[in-house]
Each structure stands twice: as structure tokens, then as C-alpha cells.
Amino acid sequence: MSALGNSIGRGAASAFVLAAVVLAGCAAKLPAPGEIHDPYEAENRETHDMNKRLDQAMFKEGSGGPPGPIGQAVSNLRNNLGLPRMVVNSTLQLRPEPAAKNTLRFAINTTLGIGGIFDPAGHWFGLTEETTDFGETLHVWGVGEGNYVELPVIGPSTERDAVGRFVDLLIDPALLLANGEEKAAILALRIAARSVDRKRYAATVNSILYDSADSYAQSRLLYLQNRRFELGGDAATEAELFDPYEDPYAE
């Protein structure tokens, strides 16, 4: 089972490398910031309500705040194990610089940081994570974001980014090298680290989920704007900036 998974993973990875070589250099055009494609809104809203109920059951109000040393270690370990996957993605995007930075970061934190429990690369050398994923790789290859989707448990995403999440599981070197038990451990670590994140950003997440008049619309807007910024930077948003002094509403 695991061997089969591995060979599929490796096959997929080499196919992607080939595709990267063919497709690189034709990044998808980003939609305008105000543009939202949400034909599945009714289904998405149902998933959103379900996600909110799950969140409420798992995180009591007021339990937020920055992590303690254990929480921080869990978060650091998860981040460190994610670096090889990001290096793979940067390589597929033909972006050598973030690939090199993350490789160095991985080497430092795995050794000096005792397997990634600590983050000396970030704290001592200013070598912070160059975050990327297969959704971004698809973007670089020219795949548009598709429709907005809210995924069960995971939350806001797009069709492209949902595919990206799935492929990231197949091309993740940490998962490809792990045996069955190790895979389960990695998964448990990710869930635990996600819970640390949820608590760290409790004020903002609670404000969006529970104080908003339409938490679905808010999370959709915030996700899409932030994601497009991650993929395209400032240039992506510049053409569409509000000028309320010129705006018809502002009379």
C-alpha cells in the first residue's frame, strides 16, 4: 500500500517536473481583487456552518493566546517537516532562490534546532520560511484559481488550491519517506500544530467567525484577497485600488 503510494508519488513528481519545464513562465493572470466566483455558494455556506460548529466544539472562547514552549515546539516541528515540500514546489516553479533559502533553513533547524524543535534559522540568521505550496505551483504554471470553495475542516480555498493541497500530500518528501506509523505521526503533528495556530490567532479568528454579520462572506473575501496577494504581490492589487474621494458613493 505504502510502496504503491510511494511509486505513484514519485511518478507524479517526475511528471510534474516535466510539466514545469514546459509550462514555466506563463503564470496565470490574477483576478481583480473584487472579483469572486462562487457558483457553489449554497453548498459552501452549509460547509461553513458545519466548520463553525466544529470550531466551536473544539475551541472554547477565551482559550487563545501565544503558545507556550510545548506549543511552539509542535509548531516549529510541523514547519520544519514542511520545508522539503516547499523546496520541491519552489523547484517546480523554477524559483531557485526560495528553494535554496528553505534548504538552508531546513539544514540549520534540523541540526542546530534539534530536529526542528527550535528555530535558530529564523531567530539567529534571519532565514525565515519562504512559504509556498502546490496551489502556487499550479498558479505559476498558468492555472487560474477557479471557483471559490469552502472545504470541510480545512476552510476557505479555491478549486485550484484544493487540488494543490491534495497533490502536496503526494509530493511531500517527508510523507514519501515515512512508513505507516510515521505518516500517522506526521498527520497528528499537523493537527496539533493547527490547533496551536488557531489559539495563537484566536482574537482575529473569533472576530471573523463569531462577531461578523456574515462570517461566510468575510472569510471568503479575506481568503481571496490574501491568497491573491501571496501569489502576485502588490502589483496584483494596484490597478483596482479604491479611491473613495473619486468614488460616486463619496458625494
Partner: protein, 202 residues
């Protein structure tokens, strides 16, 4: 969403403005790069001081409200957040809405600023965009990649004021238009009921 007439009007304004820009060697802005930058440096200093004060809850929110009034063009932010409904509102309603909006925004972002404790803001640059200035600042957390906060500054109110914030691509005016729109829908378009709701929201 602007209707056809308004977009045509906007097109004309842009055409005239474009013509003017072409005719003049420099952009016709009273505000300049260093003034816009100076405003945000002061605002960022006040934000840094508020975060470092160790205040929490209402005491911190009222600090934010003061910063917001001092450096922000509150009336234009409120009007823009209310969107089309601002056209039907009376002057008294607009005044009440603006006041309620200012408290709402300070509570809402005051809460979220708890996550900025330990961060340091730095102004890194300014450039003209459209008819205003964009000042770029970064929030620096030890050991983390810095993240970007853009401040949009204009002097169209008669004073140098910021009117929008963009945090890692998330546009505050856009988010508030969506939120205030949803609050207004819940009240079936009744602005007075919306104003009442806003006094406790955020």
C-alpha cells in the same frame, strides 16, 4: 456598484485628470512623498506606543480610537464603508453613523491588535498611486517573516490623512464594505437600526 452614468462620469474625470497629468511635468499633488511618509511614521509611533503600553480591553480600544481620529479621514472611511446606502442617508444619520463606525472599528481592530504584541512597525517607503500616496510599512515579529501593511494617504479632506489600510493584501475598506453591507441587510436596509447595532458591534 457604480451604474453606467457614474462610470461614464468617472471616465470623464479620469480623462480630464489624465490630460492634466500629461500637460504638467509633475503629478499635480499638493501632498508629497515625505509628507505622506511623515504622517504614517507618526501614526506608527503612536501604534507602537499603544501596543507597548500593556493596556488591554477598552483602555487599548480608546487609544486606537484616538489614533484613528488623529491620523485617519474617518468621515470618508465611514461613508465608503456604508457604500450606496450613504446616498440615501440624511446628514444627521451620516453623523451618527460616522460616530458609531469609529467606535466599532476601534473595538474590532483593537481586539485583533493583541496579536501584534511584540511586533515592531517600520515605515519602509512611499510612492504616488492614482491620486494619493501609498506608504509601505512592515510589521516585524522576531523570527518570523515580516508582513506588509500599506497605508493610503490623501490630503483631499484638507489635511493629510490615511483613508485605507491593506494588510497582506487584505483591504480594510473592502472588508468593511462587505461587513457593513451584511449588517444593513440584516436590518433590511434600515440605517437607524444599523447605527444602533454598530454601537455594540466589533
Amino acid at each position: 456598484m457604480p451604474n453606467d452614468l457614474l462610470s461614464r462620469r468617472n471616465l470623464m474625470i479620469s480623462a480630464v485628470a489624465g490630460g492634466m497629468a500629461a500637460a504638467m511635468p509633475l503629478p499635480a499633488l499638493a501632498l508629497n512623498d515625505s509628507q505622506a511618509r511623515a504622517l504614517i511614521i507618526k501614526a506608527v509611533d503612536d501604534v507602537n506606543r499603544a501596543i507597548a503600553s500593556g493596556k488591554t480591553g477598552p483602555a487599548l480600544y480608546s487609544d486606537f480610537e484616538r489614533i484613528f481620529i488623529k491620523y485617519g479621514d474617518v468621515p470618508i472611511i465611514a461613508r465608503s464603508a456604508l457604500g450606496v446606502a450613504a446616498r440615501q442617508a440624511s446628514a444627521a444619520q451620516m453623523a451618527a453613523f460616522t460616530k458609531a463606525f469609529q467606535g466599532y472599528l476601534s473595538r474590532k481592530y483593537g481586539k485583533r491588535f493583541r496579536e501584534f504584541i511584540g511586533a515592531r512597525f517600520e515605515v519602509v517607503g512611499a510612492k504616488p498611486v492614482k491620486t494619493f500616496y501609498e506608504v509601505k510599512s512592515t510589521a516585524i515579529f522576531k523570527g518570523q517573516a515580516p508582513f506588509e501593511v500599506l497605508w493610503h494617504v490623501s490630503d483631499k479632506s484638507g489635511q493629510d490623512r490615511f483613508f485605507n489600510l491593506i494588510i497582506e493584501g487584505v483591504n480594510l475598506l473592502a472588508a468593511e464594505r462587505t461587513e457593513i453591507g451584511a449588517m444593513l441587510d440584516r436590518r433590511r436596509g434600515n440605517i437607524d437600526a444599523l447605527i444602533q447595532d454598530m454601537k455594540t458591534a466589533g
